[in-house]
């Protein structure tokens, strides 16, 4: 029995989209260079790394967890794949697979600590954030890896699509979003993720292993960070040990702006993409206007508070 109201997207999903459109309208009125397919494809390319990290972060936040280690794990993955290729002469696919394996292993480590030893995700990932950072610095000697094979830049190369230059990395990001959206919405495993976030106890009583679901969520998130590392390497053409410093908070910002509840169980992964785009649009638009980046930080802060407040109020209303 679906009433009409059930078919409408909830406010938590529409709000971010409205904010994004309003921001675009504002910047279009301020700069005649803002409104072009070329500029939009640019913004997409600028948010793709954080965007893919934020997919993993969304999965974790849906289970009422949080991952502070995501940016540093990504940086480690990027250093591993570039150094394996540059120093040991491994072929590009093998080196990239090694990087993915390392980030996925970190996800597994987070998952084990959360599920088996029952440590709070905030503390676990605070620890692994520092561990991943230190390993990255020690392994790279704090030096950027530049002599990487051209194949590693493939995801950064572009093709023309309807007047816009689109990179393969952006296509990959959009594909990952659609895939995750579908999996969360249409598969049993996806529904289990929401169930664990809503009420772990009730989920357990229905016979679902919450531990297993959580472990898989952290492992898949680790894989996402590895994919983000591939995008980051392709975009900058180098393995950068100082990458990922702000990405953990940027990813959480994107998830929250996208309307996913920090209390778990509610949210749509496509909202996260909108959240990432809001931040990207502000950075791009304010530069076009010639305004200092400090204003971008200010606006982002206000939007985050608004997003969480909306979530909290709508929860109260639902009760």
């Amino acid at each position: 029995m679906n009433s009409f109201k059930d078919k409408l997207p909830p406010m938590g999903t529409l709000g971010p989209l409205i904010a994004l459109v309003l921001a675009c309208v504002f910047f279009a009125s301020q700069s005649d260079r803002f409104l072009s397919t070329q500029n939009f494809s640019l913004i997409l390319a600028q948010v793709m790394v954080v965007g893919v990290i934020a997919i993993g972060q969304t999965l974790i936040i849906l289970t009422a967890g949080i991952d502070l280690s995501c940016g540093m794990v990504m940086a480690l993955g990027g250093i591993v794949m570039t150094k394996f290729a540059a120093d040991y002469g491994l072929s590009t696919p093998v080196a990239m697979a090694c990087g993915l394996a390392v980030t996925t292993a970190f996800g597994y480590l987070n998952g084990v600590l959360v599920t088996r030893i029952k440590l709070p995700p905030f503390i676990v990932t605070l620890g692994t954030l520092n561990i991943a950072f230190a390993i990255t610095q020690l392994y790279s000697g704090s030096q950027t890896v530049t002599d990487i094979p051209a194949g590693m830049n493939w995801l950064g190369s572009t093709f023309t699509f309807g007047g816009a230059t689109v990179s393969y990395g952006v296509v990959m990001m959009l594909g990952l979003y659609l895939f995750t959206w579908f999996a969360l919405r249409e598969t049993a495993a996806g529904r289990h993720v929401y169930a664990v976030g809503n009420s772990p106890e009730a989920t357990r009583l229905t016979g679902i292993s919450t531990e297993k679901v959580l472990l898989w969520v952290y492992v898949l998130a680790g894989l996402c960070y590895g994919l983000a590392a591939m995008l980051g390497v392709a975009r900058t053409g180098a393995g950068d040990p100082n990458a990922g410093q702000t990405e953990n908070l940027d990813a959480i910002t994107a998830v929250v702006l996208g309307g996913t509840s920090l209390f778990g169980g509610r949210g749509v992964v496509l909202g996260t993409l909108v959240g990432a785009l809001i931040v990207g649009v502000f950075r791009n638009g304010l530069t076009l206007m010639g305004v200092s980046s400090v204003y971008q930080i200010l606006v982002t802060g206000i939007l985050v508070i608004l997003a969480v407040a909306t979530d909290q109020l709508s929860r109260k209303g639902a009760r």
Binding site: S31, R33, Q38, N39, L42, A45, Q46, V49, Q137, G141, S142, Q143, T144, T146, T158, G232, R235, T236, G237, A238, D240, P241, N242, A243, Q245, R283, N284, T287, L288, G290, S292, S293, V294
Partner: protein
């Protein structure tokens, strides 16, 4: 007797340790971060010089650039460990001053490396690059390279309010002969020729994003000033993607070995090279001298800046890539 053995051993170890401390002057080196290659090299320079002179270097750093509290903690710990000289690259030029005063009151000589405190005479001495002059050099080079063409400039700066960022930026504009601010200013000058300014945080990815947005704002940009070489490499990526890498001149400051390689590869036209190894070595030598004779150093010592360019310009003094590679980070 059995009970006393560990105690005896401890006493012996303490004696041995204290005699080592008495023989070797202890010098503390506090950098802004552990991870910037510039500071990594500075630490190597200090250790090499200390080995030569028979001193011991303890090093520490703030957690991030701007972490004043972390630097103060490091300073207190080093003084407790017997350091009589502290070399510091202040993260916050004003906030560190009270802690320096306290150290000096305990008979510790404090030398600022790389960047000055405010006021500059809060430390006993300063060994640093003249960042304004470094900017002036690349400004003069850019002007000569453009050869009378009207400049359309983008600047990829550090982040708001950082004195080194402001000095390089304003020095560059001064060197180009544009309206600028003086070396004391923390503001970034913005004459009409500068059509776009973006913060790069000295980071490759953010430099690339900044340049992309600037090109979007004004596709006619023909000169790019960058705070350092990673930001320049990011800018080059953006220009290459837009097919403009041949028509745009990128200048930078730092002179790290990777940066000089980029000058040779045509990514960066010219860069002002500075010498962290030299700063650190001079600091350690001064510390050893103080420990032996009690004589302190004072005032500002310019550790030098050299303009490195693949192509020399008439009327601008520059050295070639080979010289730059030999000298990078202050290696001999």
């Amino acid at each position: 007797m059995k009970l006393n053995t560990p105690k005896l051993m401890l006493t012996a170890m303490a004696l041995a340790a204290s005699s080592v401390y008495a023989a070797e002057p202890v010098i503390g080196l506090i950098t802004k971060t552990e991870i910037n290659p510039f500071f990594v090299k500075m630490k190597e320079g200090a250790q090499a010089e200390a080995k030569k002179l028979g001193a011991k270097v303890m090093s520490a750093a703030g957690k991030t650039d701007g972490d004043n509290a972390g630097q103060i903690t490091a300073m207190e710990n080093m003084i407790a460990a017997g350091a009589k000289t502290i070399l510091i690259t202040p993260s916050d030029s004003k906030a560190i001053v009270p802690a320096i005063k306290k150290a000096q009151a305990q008979g510790v000589m404090v030398i600022a490396l790389d960047s000055p405190t405010e006021p500059a005479n809060a430390t006993d001495a300063l060994f640093a690059t003249d960042n304004y002059k470094a900017g002036v050099f690349i400004g003069q080079y850019a002007k000569a390279a453009l050869n009378g063409k009207k400049p359309v400039i983008a600047t990829l700066d550090l982040f708001p309010g950082h004195p080194v960022g402001a000095q390089r930026h304003n020095g560059f504009l001064q060197g180009y002969g544009l309206t600028s601010l003086d070396a004391k200013s923390n503001e970034l000058a913005k004459p009409a020729e500068v059509v776009c300014m973006a913060d790069s945080f000295g980071d490759r990815a953010k430099g690339q994003t900044g340049m992309e947005n600037c090109l979007q704002k004004n596709p006619n940009i023909n000169v790019v000033y960058t705070i350092n070489e990673p930001a320049a490499a990011g800018a080059y990526n953006a220009l290459k993607a837009a097919g403009k890498e041949k028509d745009v001149l990128i200048v930078s400051v730092d002179g790290g070995c990777a940066g000089i390689k980029d000058v040779g590869a045509g990514v960066i036209a010219a860069t002002s090279q500075q010498y962290p190894l030299r700063m650190a070595a001079m600091g350690v030598a001064a510390g050893v001298e103080y420990a032996k004779t009690g004589k302190k150093v004072s005032g500002y010592t310019d550790t030098g800046v050299t303009l490195i360019a693949a192509k020399s310009m008439k009327g601008v003094d520059s050295k070639d890539v080979k010289t730059g590679t030999d000298l990078c980070w202050g290696n001999k």
